[in-house]
């Protein structure tokens, strides 16, 4: 297995004006490859949720997209903190710590991580006060 496409995007903290730009770019790149729309839909949803999480909860971060030749798409969302205090609670539908500002803009419904887990093929999250790393994979070829 070797990586044939590698891209890295930067997400800024509290950058609501550009929220969704990284997901749009990821979606566009994968659409250009010709990934099946049904799989692409899941990737788009997960990527958007994770990107918004980085903007509203973390101090920004980086998103990396890797496509390997065996048809697996890896998305890694890495942020420098402050980490998720109670991961179990964060994985409960409806539970949210989003700020008033974020809620006023329609974010923070408390379904982010739940939805991401639902649509991705593998879901791995590691969190500590010095940062959270979310790794998702999707099978692009059947």
């Amino acid at each position: 297995m070797s990586v044939i496409l590698h891209k890295v995007y930067v997400v800024e903290r509290d950058d609501y004006a550009n929220a969704g730009m990284v997901s749009s770019s990821v979606k566009q790149t994968l659409a250009q490859i010709g990934i099946d729309p049904k799989i692409l839909r899941n990737i788009a949803v997960a990527c958007y949720e994770a990107e918004i999480n980085m903007i509203i909860h973390a101090y920004g971060g980086a998103v990396s997209l890797d496509v390997s030749d065996d048809g697996i798409i890896h998305l890694v969302f890495k942020d420098p903190g402050p980490g998720i205090p109670d991961l179990e609670k964060a994985m409960t539908p409806g539970w949210s710590t989003a700020s008033e500002k974020a809620r006023a803009m329609g974010f923070g419904a408390g379904m982010g991580l739940v939805n991401i887990k639902r649509v991705s093929d593998t879901f791995d999250i590691k969190t500590s006060p010095s940062g959270t790393t979310l790794t998702l994979t999707f099978k692009a070829s059947i």
Binding site: I4, L5, G20, S23, S24, K27, Q32, I33, G34, I35, D36, P37, K38, L40, R41, A44, V45, Y48, V67, D69, G71, A140, S141
Partner: protein
């Protein structure tokens, strides 16, 4: 569905405005003339508007085609009625159209009204994500080419003109060779006919561009009247501001707005809305390119007409409204490895191109050009900027 756009070489100044305006990359310039890819064209008419020299036009059937039939029926959609401010005026319009040589003139507002209500019912009973109204052919084609993730969200209901034509066909079985003519307010609806485009799947025989027929209709105006009655829901269905407003329905008009909304829907961000009704034309169907009136003025006529419209929406059985054709996607048969190989090669070529998307080579973007190079249809020397740079280097060398 094929393209209704025709190209006039003698009018073309090769400015590439149309190539850049196309939302689906259907237009390219080859050998100094525009080539329209029928499989990609949405019939949105953006290229026609972009051309300042009338080099591109939408062509429908002509009135001469009436002679080919024993019995002819003209169908009038609600968008055409919006030019009339009262039922009396509408009656005169119907009479004037009948005088063109039709045996029957029917309004299809009742069917449009029923289709709008059925779409709302379907959307409200749909369990999860939002549905997208299928009333505009441009939106359906746009989803097919640019937003394939949303294909399953399109309401599986047929076009009003098709449903109406099926009913008329049944009703006039014993009338011999029946010709059904649809009067159209936009390019996209022109394409929903058998002739002259060779679309066998449609019930409507001919579609007429209202703008071509209007001078003749005007001659017949004020000479007589037919009693008419319209369905309020049908009249409302073609204007976003007049449609039933509920917090869970979203309506939008204008091409950029529609693209914006479809982009959000792909991320499932509009799931709080049950039904998205999208119009690529400003003010919906009354803003169709083939209408003569200004849609901001004709909008006011709806108020006057809806107050006097008492016809109930049609009650056609669901099987006659349903269609599965709208959510078909073009199947990509390539394996993942083939897709990746092509993508890598395109990216390799793309790095050599300037990235200005200037369209001077005849393709819309540098990416389209790179794809054509990989397919072997073009070479890197077809890029004007690349060629100019090469020339400069050569001269510098001397």
């Amino acid at each position: 569905m094929s393209s209704v756009v025709t190209y006039t070489l003698s009018r073309c100044v090769k400015c590439m405005k149309c190539v850049k305006a196309c939302p689906s990359g259907a237009l390219t310039m080859e050998n100094s003339r525009i080539n329209i890819r029928h499989d990609r064209c949405l019939n949105c008419g953006r290229c026609i508007t972009a051309c300042h020299n009338q080099g591109l036009l939408a062509k429908g059937s002509t009135l001469d085609d009436i002679k080919c039939y024993d019995y002819t029926v003209a169908m009038i959609p609600s968008a055409l009625i919006h030019d009339c401010s009262s039922l009396g005026e509408a009656g005169e319009l119907f009479y004037a159209i009948k005088m063109l040589g039709f045996d029957e003139v029917v309004d299809i507002t009742a069917i449009e009204g029923q289709l709008m209500q059925e779409a709302q019912l379907l959307a409200e009973s749909s369990p999860e994500s939002s549905l997208i109204s299928s009333v505009c052919p441009v939106i359906n084609r746009l989803i097919e080419t640019n937003y394939p993730m949303l294909l399953n969200s399109v309401v599986p209901l047929n076009y009003p003109s098709e449903v109406a034509a099926k009913q008329i066909r049944r009703r006039t079985k014993d009338k011999g060779n029946v010709g059904i003519f649809n009067f159209c307010e936009c390019e996209a609806k022109l394409a929903l006919a058998k002739y002259p485009y060779g679309n066998k799947q449609y019930e409507v025989d001919h579609s007429l561009a209202i703008v071509d027929i209007f001078p003749k209709i005007k001659q017949n105006m004020h000479q007589g009247s037919i009693p008419v009655e319209f369905c309020r829901e049908g009249l409302q269905s073609c204007n976003p501001a007049m449609m039933l407003q509920k917090p869970e329905y979203l309506t939008a008009d204008g091409f950029d707005k529609v693209n914006n909304i479809l982009g959000l829907a792909e991320f499932q961000l509009l799931n709080q809305f049950k039904l998205l009704t999208l119009f690529p034309c400003f003010n919906g169907c009354i803003g169709g390119h083939l209408l003569w009136g200004n849609s901001y003025l004709t909008k006011n006529n709806i108020h006057a007409l809806t107050d006097t419209s008492r016809k109930k929406p049609a009650e056609i059985e669901f099987d006659d409204l349903y269609t599965a054709d709208l959510s078909k996607s073009a199947d990509d048969k390539r394996s993942f490895q083939e897709k990746m190989e092509f993508f890598s090669k395109v990216n390799e070529q793309l790095e050599k191109l300037p990235g200005y998307d200037c369209s001077a080579c005849g393709m819309q973007t540098c990416r389209n050009m790179a794809e054509e190079i990989v397919r072997g249809n073009k070479t890197i020397n077809d890029c004007r900027i690349h060629a100019a740079m090469k020339e400069k280097v050569k001269h510098a060398g001397k």
